[in-house]
Assembly symmetry: C3
Homo-oligomer: 215 residues x 3
C-alpha cells in the first residue's frame, strides 16, 4: 500500500513532542499546586512525561529507555521546568490547564497506540498489549499523583481517561489483526482515544458510580 | 518418595485461585472505601492480586510474568471487578470483608511458600528467599494501599501479617535445607503462615509497640 | 599515578557502612513518627538504606543487587531495627536526628559518586549518569516518604539535598572526562556534594520559591 502523501513519521514525531510537553506541563502544574520546590517540580514533570513509558519498559524488560537513547530530552525537560518557573505567573495557570487539555489528549492517544504496538511486536497476548498501551499513556500521571501524595486522578475523578486509552488500544490490536498498515493502525487507534477523550471533556460524561460508593 | 494420594498440584491450583480472588476482592473493598471509579477499582484489584508476584519478578529479573503467561487471568479480573460493581451492595460489604479473611490467609501462606521456593531455585541466599516470599505475599496489598493514598496496613495496623509470612518462609527454607519433598515443604510453610495468621486474628494478638510510639 | 598513602577502598567501605546506617536510621525515625509497627519499621529502614541503589539497578537492568550479593546486610538491618526498638527512647530521638545529619550527608555524597560512576562505566550518557547518581543517593528517602504517605521531603522542604547530589554528580562526570584516577574522581565528587549539603544546613539556605507557589 502506498504511504500517505504527508510524511507519517514526521507528523508522528511532531505530535509526540507536543504530547510529551503537555504531559510534562501537567506535572509542573500538579507540583505547583502542591508547593513542591524546584527539584520536586523537575521530578514530577519528568515522571509525568516519561514515567508511563519507563514503567512499561521495565515490565517488558526493554532497554534502553527512551530518555537514555534520546538523552537530549532530559535537557529539554530541565529547560522546560526552569523556564516555567521563571516565566509562568499565577494568572497563566488556569490558561495553561485549559491549553494542555488537547495536547494531553493527543498524548493519551499516541502513547496508547505506540505502547500497544510495541507490546504486540514483542509477541504479547492482545489483552497484555492493551494493558501496556494503557500503562504507557496513563501511568506517568499515576506516578505523578503518587509522588504528590494524591489518589491518582485517573482512578478517582470519574472522568473517562484510562477508558479512552483502553478502547483506543483495542482498536490498535484489531487493526493489526486485520493486517492494516502500521500508520493506519496507529492513526485509527490514536484518533479513537483522542476523540473519545474530547467527547468526554465536551459532554462532561462521568463514569458510572458504584452503588456502594454513593453517599 | 510417593506423592500423596490427593493430587497436590490440583489442590494447590484450587487454593491459588481462591487466594487470588480473595486478594482481588480485598483491593475492590479498599477501592470502594476510597470512592475510586470503575477504572481505579480494576487497577487496585489487579495490584492486590498480582502486584506482589510482579514486584518479586521484577526484582529477580524473571519473565514472563504470571499474568502474561496466563493472560486469561486479566479477563477474569476484569469480570470480577465489573461483576462486583454490578452485584455487590453496601450490606454485602461487611460480609465480604469477613468472608475473605480466610482465603486471604490461605493466599498469604501459599504465595509466601511459592515466592520463597522460586527464589531458592534461582540460587538466592536464604534471607533473600525469605524476603521474596514476604514480598510476593504482602506487597500486592502494600501497592494497593499506596495507590489508595494510605500508609500500608501491613506496616501500620500492628496485627501480625507480614510476620506470619516471614515465619512461614523460614519454614520453607528449613524444609528445603532438610531435603523435604517439594509438596511437603510448600505445605508445611503455607500451613505455618496460615495458622499463625488465623491465631493472630482469633486472639487479637498485636505486635509490640515501640516505646517512642506510645502516646 | 601512585595511589594515596591511606588505603582508599578501606576508607570508602568504612564511609559506606556509616552512611548506610545513617540512611537506615533516617527511615526508622520517619517510621516512628508515623507510628509504624515493627514490620513497617524494618521495611522503611530497608527502603531508606537500599531503595535508591535498588531502583537504579532496576533501571539499569543490573543484577545482583547489593543486598543479594551481600545478604549479611539484611541481617544487619534487621538487628539495627530491632535494636533501635529496644534501646531508643523518646529523649534519644532529637539527638539521633541531629547525629545522623553528617553521616547522611556523607551517604549523599558517596552514593552519588558511586551511582554516577557505575552508570558511566555502563556507557550511559553524561546526563543519564548524573540522574542515576541522584537516584542512588536520593530515592531511598523518596520511597521511604511515599510508604509513610508523605510528599517526599527531597521534593518539598526547599532545602538543597538532591541539588547537592546533582552538582556532585557533575563533578564526577567532569573528573572522569578529564581522566582523573578513580579514587580522585569519587573523592572530589563526594566531597562537593557533602560540602554543599553541609553549607546548606549551616546557612539555612533555601531553594528559590516559584512565584505561583507563594501564598
Amino acid at each position: 500500500m502506498k504511504p500517505p502523501v504527508i510524511n507519517f513519521s514526521t507528523l508522528q514525531a511532531a505530535v509526540e513532542v507536543a504530547a510529551t510537553l503537555a504531559f510534562a506541563l501537567s506535572g509542573l502544574l500538579a507540583g505547583a499546586r502542591k508547593q513542591l520546590d524546584a527539584v520536586g517540580l523537575c521530578v514530577v514533570a519528568g515522571l509525568s512525561a516519561f514515567g508511563g513509558g519507563t514503567l512499561r519498559d521495565v515490565l517488558l524488560d526493554r532497554r534502553p529507555f527512551f530518555w537514555v537513547e534520546h538523552a537530549d530530552w532530559l535537557w529539554a525537560l530541565l529547560a522546560l521546568s526552569l523556564g516555567a518557573m521563571l516565566f509562568l505567573r499565577r494568572r497563566h495557570l488556569a490558561l495553561t490547564e485549559r491549553a494542555i487539555q488537547w495536547p494531553d489528549a493527543l498524548g493519551l492517544g499516541l502513547f496508547t497506540a505506540n505502547g500497544s504496538l510495541l507490546a504486540l511486536d514483542m509477541g504479547m497476548p492482545a489483552i497484555v498489549a492493551v494493558l501496556m498501551g494503557v500503562i504507557t499513556a496513563v501511568f506517568g500521571g499515576v506516578l505523578r499523583d503518587i509522588v504528590c501524595n494524591e489518589i491518582p486522578a485517573a482512578f478517582h475523578d470519574h472522568r473517562p481517561y484510562a477508558l479512552c486509552s483502553f478502547v483506543g488500544a483495542w482498536v490498535l490490536v484489531a487493526a493489526v489483526q486485520l493486517q492494516a498498515p502500521q500508520w493506519a493502525a496507529i492513526s485509527a487507534s490514536a484518533a479513537t482515544a483522542v476523540l473519545l477523550r474530547g467527547l468526554a471533556l465536551w459532554t462532561g460524561w462521568m463514569l458510572p458510580v458504584w452503588r456502594i460508593n454513593r453517599r
